[in-house]
Every structure is written in C-alpha cells, then in structure tokens.
C-alpha cells in the first residue's frame, strides 16, 4: 500500500464527484454514496479570512461538538441522522441521508396554503415541544433551531410521523437555563418570521415543552427575560 499524494486527497476527490446541495458560510453540504448508502456529507472548508491556527482549532471544535450532540440526542431517543464517518483532516462529517422527508417549514407552509386541518398542526406543535424538552433535558443546545432544521419523515401510516432534528453545527452541551431559553428564543423568532399568524401554534409548542420537561419553569422564565432584553442588541441608547 503506497503513499502517493493522490492517496492523501481521497475525500476531496470524492467530493468533486458528489453532488453539492448547499453552500453556507460555514460549510458545504453534499449528497453522495458511501459504503453503498446514500449519505449527506458536511464539509467545513477552511476559512481563509481567519488565522490558520485559529481556523483549524475552531473548525475541529465545531465538528466534534456537532458529532457529540448528535450522539447524545440519539442516546436519549431523539431522532437525528446517524453519523457514519468523521474525517478530522478535512473536517467532513458523513451522515445518514434522511430520505422521504419534508422540512417542518415546508409542511407548515403547505398546510397553511391549503387551509387544511389546523388540528394536524396542533399535533405537530405538541411533538416539537416534546422533542425539544427531551433535548434540553439532556443538556443539548441545538443552537440553530428553525423549521428548516426539523424534518418530518413519513412512517408506514401518516399517523406516526417521525420528527428528525438536523444541522447540529452550532450545537453544544450546556445545563444553563439561559442557554436553553436562548435556544427557544431563536426558534420563536425563526418560527414567527417564517410562518405568519402562528403565535397560537407556537404557544401550544411551549405548552407541550412545559409539560414534557422536568426543568421547564426556569427555562421559560429565562425565555421571557431574553424576549425583554433581546439578543444581539447593543444596550447603547
């Protein structure tokens, strides 16, 4: 087994053949085949605007945090894509491709458009609240809760739709109610701005969260505090 230069570049040359589906500020996302399965590959590419040593450390930390959070969620019974392989040299994560799914964002949008079944969305709100409560009880902070980062996978019957959380790129472990409150605040902002007239739906979500979480009261108190003072707001008047 020889060690030519082409050998070291295996993941990048693989990615050239794969299908890129998204490019963000932090990472590129591809779809490909890995060990015979359809996978999503998340590549945290080097940021040239950063100092190289800082970039390497930060990128590695983000990768490990993402992977750790996913494992923690799964161990607690929260649906998240299975991690198949992590390449710490190129900072690529090979994840299970969740097929036959629709994002919660698209689902709500189409449900609202077709003026359908509000009861249907109530059940969804309950499910989201319950799932986030379980996640926070495991001290996992998602960091980027939006309806685009939640998928609904159709089961055998339309009844039991699985809710899958994805994109743990900004996630970390924390027991602080403040962090959990901010996590919910991020979702609230994203939810209300993306889906008009959903205030009652979100309230139902929070109610479900409260019912499912053991430490909810202090988290919700923090949520109120964050709502009042706002996030990323310069207190300069």
């Amino acid at each position: 087994m020889d060690h030519s230069d082409s050998v070291k570049a295996s993941v990048p040359s693989y990615l050239k053949e794969a299908q890129m589906i998204k490019q963000g500020a932090e990472a590129r996302v591809y779809r490909g085949t890995f060990l015979g399965r359809s996978v999503i590959i998340k590549e945290r590419f080097p940021k040239l605007y950063r100092h190289p040593e800082v970039d390497e450390k930060l990128t590695r930390r983000r990768t490990t945090q993402e992977v750790r959070s996913i494992l923690r969620c799964r161990r607690a019974g929260i649906n998240a894509p299975v991690v198949y392989f992590v390449d710490y040299t190129t900072h690529c994560i090979f994840l299970e491709d969740i097929i036959h799914s629709v994002s919660v964002k698209d689902h709500i949008a189409s449900a609202q458009a077709s003026e359908q079944n509000p009861q249907h969305l109530q059940t969804l709100a309950d499910k989201i609240g319950e799932t986030l409560a379980q996640m926070h009880d495991e001290d996992v902070i998602h960091g980027d809760l939006t309806t685009s980062n939640m998928l609904l996978v159709s089961g055998a019957e339309d009844q039991n739709m699985k809710l899958v959380l994805i994109d743990f790129g900004l996630s970390y472990i924390s027991a602080l109610p403040e962090d959990k409150g901010v996590d919910l605040y991020v979702l609230e902002k994203a939810f209300l701005s993306t889906h008009p007239k959903t205030e009652t739906l979100f309230e139902r979500l929070l109610k479900s969260y409260t019912a499912s979480s053991k430490k909810s009261s202090v988290v919700l108190k923090k949520l109120d505090e964050v709502r009042l003072r706002g996030r990323k707001r310069s207190m300069v008047g």
Partner: protein, 175 residues
C-alpha cells in the same frame, strides 16, 4: 457466499468478508493471523450485527492508515479496534477478536484492486463451514451487543441496533 465491496473514498482498495461457523481450529487460525499466514482481521461474529458495521470499521481503518494516524500497529488490528465502543485497545481485541474457544469466525481482508485474492487458499485454512456473510445476524448475540455498546431501549426508537452501533463507532474519538 463471501462479500466483496469497494470503499468509495478509497477506490483502489477492496474489502472482502468471509464467514464461517462450526469452526474447529480457532487456535490455529489465531496463530496464523498473528504470524501473517492469514493477512486479515479475525473477528468474533457474535459481535457483528451486519456486514455494514465491518465496512464502517474498515473504512475508518484505511483512512487512518493512509494518514498515519492509526491507534494500533496494523491495518487489521485497527479494524478490530474500530469495532469497539471504547478506546481501550486490549479490551477491543479481547471482545471483538477471536479466542481459542470460538466456533465461528468472521474474516475481513483488504487488498488492492489489482491484487488477485486467493480466497480458496484462505477457505482451505479454516476447519469449518462457510456461510453467507449476509446471514451474520444469525450469529449475533444481540443482548451482549446492547450491553457492551450501552444501547438503551429509548435509543431504539431512533433507529436500528446497527444504527446505534455504527454511530458509536464513528464518534467514539470525541464522545
């Protein structure tokens, strides 16, 4: 019967898996693996849920081997180590490698695409009955795996036992 697959990330290599039951010469086989007569990883099939699990371990082993970052001394011992949910090397060998008293053996070989592999030669060395690799789940000790990988019932809501095992294998360096 045997299974030969490619590693998409390393197209120059091929992974071949062979499975045997009613094996009578486990001690001999172990010796052959150690002295290099058999150039492969000898794995205890009761710890294998699916051939995919082996592929994941092999892929990681080849990756680390190429980057000079293996934790063990050889590619084959690295495959065995990668199967384990912990970072203790000797424990991994004990639990996932074969012991003298084992009656079933799962053999994993990695070779260059251009190399012709003499499978008959290896089959000849095993005093046992070859069975289809995709039937490895017949030999799986599910309870032992759940205990060793610490898979709780709640995790099984998210996916299969194979998913739980593979996820831990992929993330154990940082878990």
């Amino acid at each position: 019967m045997h299974l030969t697959q490619e590693l998409e990330l390393f197209p120059e290599y091929t992974v071949t898996q062979l499975l045997f039951k009613d094996v009578k010469n486990a001690t001999e086989l172990r010796k052959m693996a150690v002295n290099g007569e058999i150039k492969g990883a000898l794995i205890n099939p009761s710890m294998v849920v699916d051939a995919f699990q082996i592929l994941v371990a092999a892929n990681k082993a080849v990756h680390l081997h190429k980057n000079g970052k293996m934790k063990t001394r050889s590619l084959y011992s690295e495959i065995i180590f990668n199967l384990s949910p912990t970072n203790n090397i000797s424990e991994a060998f004990k639990r996932f490698g074969i012991s003298d008293s084992d009656s079933a053996v799962h053999i994993v070989l990695i070779h260059n695409k251009d190399e012709t592999l003499n499978i008959e030669d290896i089959i000849g060395k095993v005093d046992g009955q070859q069975m289809a690799v995709d039937r490895v789940s017949d030999l799986t000790d599910v309870a032992k795996i759940k205990k060793l990988y610490k898979v709780a019932p709640q995790e099984e809501k998210c996916g299969s036992l194979l998913d739980a095992v593979v996820c831990r294998m992929a993330t154990k360096d940082v878990a």
